[in-house]
């Protein structure tokens, strides 16, 4: 990898003029076709991809292919064929994959939004089969998520690492404290909430979390506390619902927690007894909280009987007053509940 292409120092000369490439026959993109809606490539890009097509045709896998594919990827990181051919060449040449991973660090930061950047790392990790490398990767992902806290590919890559290597001692233990840090910084970061669900509920049971009742208590307490800080935060409410659904816990078990969030104004702190299990809305809360109203209606609907008409009353208030943008949806809920009640 010492010959890795350096795009900053001297001007790139065309492959067509490079004696090292004289043995490769470049292939034009369109032969005998006058393409419609063509892209106006730069000379440099056109030249490089002409040689790439030439290489693919002959199947050559050599160090200079690594230079060429890196060059193309730097100009267009979404060129999945260049990525794929590069990976095959790395394997064929028995190239040091850790060095490739290090080279990729700079790519990932530059081309954060590109699928291929992250997928290539996944291929490398799969081939390296090393928990040490996986540990290093988690640290790298943590760093990149600092600048782009909701990058979808980065998050799913992290989840893949955890699931694929599944190392109880070295990979999983840091996840929960880290998610808490992220939610401390931004309680509305839905990616972090999803990650919490992935870690706690979806990917099996951690060694120190075999007491699932205790885990449930902990998660409910954590979520309620976050809801009390920002009662209109949909992410926290969705997590709460997710936990209850996953553990088959009735929503009604949270009735006394939810109630204070469904009224018009925060209650006077003087006349409310401090209930650690049911934290009240913060002083700045904008009430009623729509997710709380929705939640309460779901409690009523599950009750059946008279509960249905109480639920319908809430849905009507959402449809006509608090959340008119979703009028159609609330009407659908009413229709559905009335049908189900028959």
């Amino acid at each position: 990898m010492s010959a890795a292409f350096d795009d900053s120092s001297d001007e790139q000369q065309l492959y067509a003029a490079d004696p090292e490439w004289a043995d490769v026959v470049p292939l034009q993109q369109y032969e005998g076709v006058d393409p419609i809606a063509p892209i106006f490539y730069s000379e440099e890009y056109k030249d490089a991809t002409d040689y790439f097509r030439g290489i693919v045709k002959t199947g050559e896998m050599s160090p200079k292919v690594l230079k060429l594919t890196e060059h193309i990827i730097r100009m267009n990181p979404a060129h999945y064929s260049a990525w794929q051919y590069r990976y095959k060449t790395l394997i064929a040449l028995n190239s040091p994959l850790k060095a490739e991973l290090e080279l990729m660090d700079n790519f990932a930061i530059q081309f954060l939004k590109t699928y291929q950047v992250w997928h290539h790392r996944r291929l490398l990790l799969g081939a390296l089969r090393s928990v040490d490398v996986a540990v290093r990767e988690l640290a790298f992902v943590t760093r990149t998520l600092r600048t782009d806290t909701k990058n979808y590919h980065t998050w799913s890559y992290r989840q893949w690492i955890l699931a694929h290597f599944n190392d109880e001692a070295r990979l999983w233990p840091g996840e929960l404290p880290w998610v808490e840090e992220l939610l401390e910084e931004d309680v509305r970061n839905n990616s972090a909430w999803h990650h919490r669900f992935f870690v706690v509920w979806q990917s099996g049971v951690r060694r120190d979390e075999v007491d699932r009742e205790e885990v449930l208590r902990r998660e409910l307490a954590f979520t309620k506390e976050k809801i009390s800080l920002a009662p209109n935060n949909q992410s926290a409410w969705n997590y709460l619902r997710g936990v209850l659904d996953h553990t088959h816990t009735p929503y009604a078990s949270l009735t006394s927690f939810v109630q204070p969030y469904t009224v018009g104004a925060p209650s006077d702190p003087e006349d409310s007894i401090v209930d650690l299990e049911n934290p009240r809305p913060s002083a700045g809360a904008e009430l009623p909280s729509l997710p709380a109203l929705e939640f309460l209606a779901d409690i009523y609907e599950a009750e059946g009987g008279d509960g249905i008409s109480k639920a319908v009353r809430i849905w009507k208030s959402l449809a006509d007053e608090h959340d008119t943008i979703r009028k159609k949806y609330w009407e659908y809920r009413i229709k559905d509940a009335l049908h189900g009640a028959q």
Binding site: Y30, E31, Q84, N190, K328, K335
Partner: protein
């Protein structure tokens, strides 16, 4: 018709920050500040700048794309699909203003076909599910039967073999050799296999299970699930009880793909999961309720002009007008099918109707989203003043957002849903022998029983897909009918006519004439 906007407490209310701002809420507030300047002004109906958008698309088609589109070099078939479908949505056929463009479009698309099956993003590129979908869809618009027409030049047998070579033990597919697994690729594959008559039980094995495992606790779908724990050494019979955690949170793009894919596998679920001599196979399920809720919660408030976001607590963006708006239309269609089935059963039991408390007859528009508000977002915020459409102001227009804003506008204007009488007509005119002779996967069934089941799968896939029709009298045009765009099929993002054309060809069917489909038992729209 225009929406009658009620004056209520939530009118233009900024998204609450609860006195507890965070990076997400700060970005949200800043975005609402920008969108505020784009609120429709009272008395001036918003206008679709149709001619500017047609000019924008024509410029791309005729002059090509500037250098910054090099980032789309691996998506050339997409650029063509976005452009051609943009024309279809705006009512421009390839035979009027773009007459000379048909043959070069077909040649350009076919040049991206890979010698070993499937299409790449351009000539000489590796075959990949996404550009394959885009090429097949673009050919549905531009192509026709016969030599040089593009359709018969698609190598379906090779495409089918290539599809199978990408299949994973958990029912998922890689998008390309050495590529990633996700539900986008799966959706693309299912659309191609459905349109081209190469859908087989071999291809579909494990697909519903994989799809179901991608639904997250929020109700929407993530990119994929981690299935490796469930792979057994013998390569067969995955252990469905093993956890398959979702990779990535619920997301508009993946959720659209998974929802449409779920609709496309319904015939397979009905036919192959019923009790068989070998014993019943447990059918995977998804939470339709959770899914419907997720779609509804993606709609921004009035301060965001009713635009759609792609994930919880993210910003609205014009392209989700389609991914979320189109996906919600698929759910609405599936719910209607359930409703039809239920109503059919109820009609058998006399007197059941009286219990509906009037809801059934009051409702004309039973979509999950606020259709007028979504139109407002597209018309007021997503149109670039110089032509083309965009994510949100002050961004530039691009080919991708231009199509998906228009498709989203279409989904908000029209209601395209499964139609029971069309389904019956299509079934009765079905020619099984012709469909079998046109089958493109070149696989042979081993027994008569398997063959007849496969015949049924083929018929039901055809009938289900083409039973989606616009319900006359349910269209709503914010700003008036002058803003009308063509209806689009929620499963394909093609016009119903284009979907019919390519499917009739590849299934060897002659389609019965479509008649206007008035909505039964209801008052007309805007009464």
């Amino acid at each position: 018709m225009t929406s009658s906007e009620p004056t209520t407490s939530d009118q233009l209310r900024p998204t609450p920050t609860d006195g507890y701002p965070s990076p997400t809420s700060r970005l949200q507030t800043a975005t609402e500040d920008i969108l505020r300047a784009h609120q429709p002004s009272a008395g001036t109906p918003p206008i679709l700048n149709r001619n500017l958008h047609i000019q924008y698309l024509l410029r791309n088609l005729q002059q090509g794309f500037p250098e910054r589109y090099t980032s789309q070099d691996a998506s050339q078939t997409w650029l063509l699909f976005w452009t051609l479908q943009g024309f279809s949505t705006l009512g421009i056929g390839l035979d009027d203003r773009t007459k000379q463009r048909r043959a070069p479009s077909i040649d350009t698309l076919l040049a991206a076909q890979h010698p070993e099956g499937g299409f790449g993003g351009g000539p000489g590129q590796l075959a990949h599910q996404l550009p394959t979908f885009a090429a097949v869809s673009a050919l549905a618009i531009a192509g026709r039967p016969g030599p040089g027409g593009g359709w018969d030049e698609i190598d379906r047998a090779k495409m089918y073999t290539w599809f199978l070579s990408l299949k994973q033990p958990d029912g998922s597919f890689k998008v390309s050799h050495d590529g990633e697994v996700d539900v986008r690729g799966l959706y693309c594959l299912l659309v191609c296999a459905t349109l081209l008559n190469i859908l087989t039980p071999e291809l579909l094995a494990g697909v519903p299970e994989f799809l179901a495992s991608c639904q997250t606790y929020e109700g929407g779908f993530g990119s994929a699930s981690f299935g490796e724990w469930a792979f057994r050494e013998d390569g067969h019979a995955p252990d469905y009880s093993a956890p398959r955690p979702t990779l990535g949170e619920a997301h508009g793009g993946y959720t659209y793909c998974a929802t449409a894919a779920w609709a496309l596998v319904q015939p397979y679920l009905r036919l192959y999961y019923a009790p068989t001599p070998a014993g019943p196979k447990p059918a995977p399920t998804i939470s339709m309720r959770g899914l419907a809720r997720w779609y509804a919660t993606m709609q921004g408030g009035r301060a965001e002009l009713g635009g759609l976001r792609g994930r919880t607590n993210k910003l609205v963006d014009g392209c989700y007008a389609w991914w979320v708006g189109g996906g919600a239309a698929v759910v609405a269609g599936m719910l209607k099918e359930q409703e039809d089935a239920r109503a059919g059963a109820e009609e058998l039991q006399e007197g059941a109707e009286a219990q509906n408390e009037g809801w059934e007859d009051e409702e004309v528009d039973d979509s999950l989203l606020n259709r007028p508000a979504l139109q407002q977002y597209v018309l007021c915020a997503a149109q670039h003043p110089a032509g083309g459409l965009r994510d949100k102001p002050p961004k530039h227009a691009d080919a991708y957002h231009t199509l998906y804003c228009l498709s989203g506008l279409s989904a908000a204007q029209h209601r395209v849903v499964p139609n029971a009488s069309r389904r019956a007509t299509l079934r009765s005119s079905w020619d099984a022998d012709k469909a079998r002779s046109m089958e493109g996967s070149a696989t042979a069934s081993s027994s008569d029983g398997e063959q007849s089941l496969l015949d049924e799968l083929r018929r039901e896939s055809f009938v289900s897909a083409l039973s989606w029709l616009e319900e006359e009298g349910t269209e709503q045009y914010v700003g008036g009918a002058v803003n009308r765009v063509n209806a689009t099929h929620p499963l394909f993002d093609l016009t119903v006519t284009h979907a019919e054309g390519i499917m009739a060809h590849f299934y060897g069917q002659t389609l019965p004439v479509r008649r206007p489909q008035p909505r039964p038992r209801n008052k007309p729209a805007d009464a």
